[in-house]
């Protein structure tokens, strides 16, 4: 029961912040993808860099639960291509769809309904598609720590690369 309240509280806070920064605005999102507005991509990348530092801090005092998803070269890549087409088309991703629908954007309500249909179809096809697309090229739950051999080093690399990307987006995107 506590977990449900924690989930609800976390969701409310998350939905509030993504609305306030403009991530639920499909217009702002389209402009981000067109390299006309740098705010949302920089917001996302900086949030990841800071979260990685925060999670490293948590883990160093033995708090928290992690579960990195496996990488399937074919399935993760193909899924990302399908996802990218939908994201570019609507300006919504699954999380912002919930928040934007709550905000009262009708196009997000239709994205939510489409999402339910897409999830239902995948659930129906799971037993067929996973053995064909996911399993053969599944290389396991690999992380940057496996590449660098040291977690602190891996976190530092991630923070530096995401920091550079954040800075680069500010330079390359021609916006505000």
């Amino acid at each position: 029961m506590t977990l449900i309240w924690l989930g609800l509280f976390s969701g409310i806070a998350f939905g509030f912040v993504v609305q306030r920064v403009g991530a639920t605005d499909a217009h702002k999102m389209a402009r981000s993808h067109l390299m006309l507005d740098a705010d949302i991509p920089r917001f996302m990348l900086l949030a990841v860099a800071l979260s990685a530092l925060g999670l490293f801090g948590l883990q160093s005092v033995g708090v928290g639960r992690i579960l990195p998803l496996p990488t399937s070269i074919v399935a993760t890549g193909l899924a990302a291509v399908i996802f990218g087409i939908g994201w570019g088309l609507t300006g919504y991703c699954p999380g912002t769809t919930w928040a934007a629908a709550g905000e009262g954007r009708m196009d997000a309500v239709f994205a939510l309904l489409g999402g339910l249909a897409g999830a239902a179809l995948f659930a129906q096809l799971h037993e067929t598609l996973v053995p064909i697309l996911y399993d053969p090229t599944n290389v396991g739950q690999i992380t940057l720590t496996d590449l660098f051999g040291n977690q602190a080093m891996a976190v530092a690399m991630l923070v530096v690369v995401f920091g550079l990307c954040t800075w680069g987006i500010g330079k390359l995107w021609k916006s505000s």
Binding site: V17, M44, G95, L116, L147
Partner: protein, 180 residues
């Protein structure tokens, strides 16, 4: 930050917003585990199907893997909608639109066309998310925070493909800078 764009500041600045979001993400890792939002769609379906077709749900691997509505994942998705609602009601400056101006500029006023497109887009993002095992939050943000290669790989490809898709769809109207 040219001063000419001052009127476009109904939004929070991205730097403090990123600190706020990462605070929430770290809180979630501490109190639950990796946050995810595409799973909330599966939880919703599972709740409905457990009532409508219990035998079907019990037999399908995807529904076995994701908990139903009585879970953190569903509460989080519901919370996102409530958070969006509260944020929308309490902001006077952020416009709530049914159709993005850039879409109108390119594809006209038809609501049916926009809603059809977002239905299709929603379908694609969820089909993709469920195949990969997560979405922008559940795979890219959560995964990268945990240093997972899957999250970084997914993130690079979704940004590249979304940017290409947006360019193909809206490329013609991007020169018209009056659309803000």
């Amino acid at each position: 930050m040219e001063p000419t764009n001052k009127e476009r500041l109904p939004y929070w600045h991205w730097i403090p917003a990123a600190f706020a979001l990462s605070g929430i993400i770290v809180f979630i890792f501490a109190t639950y585990g990796p946050p995810a939002s595409s799973s909330g769609f599966v939880s919703t379906l599972k709740g409905f199907l457990e009532w409508a077709a219990p035998d079907y749900v019990a037999a399908k691997a995807h529904y076995k893997a994701i908990p139903g509505p009585g879970s953190w994942l569903f509460a989080f998705a519901l919370g996102m909608a409530i958070g969006g609602f509260i944020a929308g009601r309490t902001s006077k400056n952020i416009p709530v639109r049914d159709m993005p101006p850039i879409w109108k500029q390119r594809f006209g006023d038809s609501r049916a066309k926009r809603y059809g497109a977002t239905f299709l887009g929603g379908f694609l993002i969820l089909f993709g998310s469920r195949l990969a095992g997560g979405c922008t939050l559940g795979l890219f943000i959560s995964g990268s925070t945990q240093l997972a290669i899957s999250g970084l790989y997914f993130g690079v490809v979704i940004f590249a493909v979304a940017m290409l898709t947006a360019r193909l769809l809206f490329g013609k109207v991007t020169e018209q800078e009056e659309i803000q």
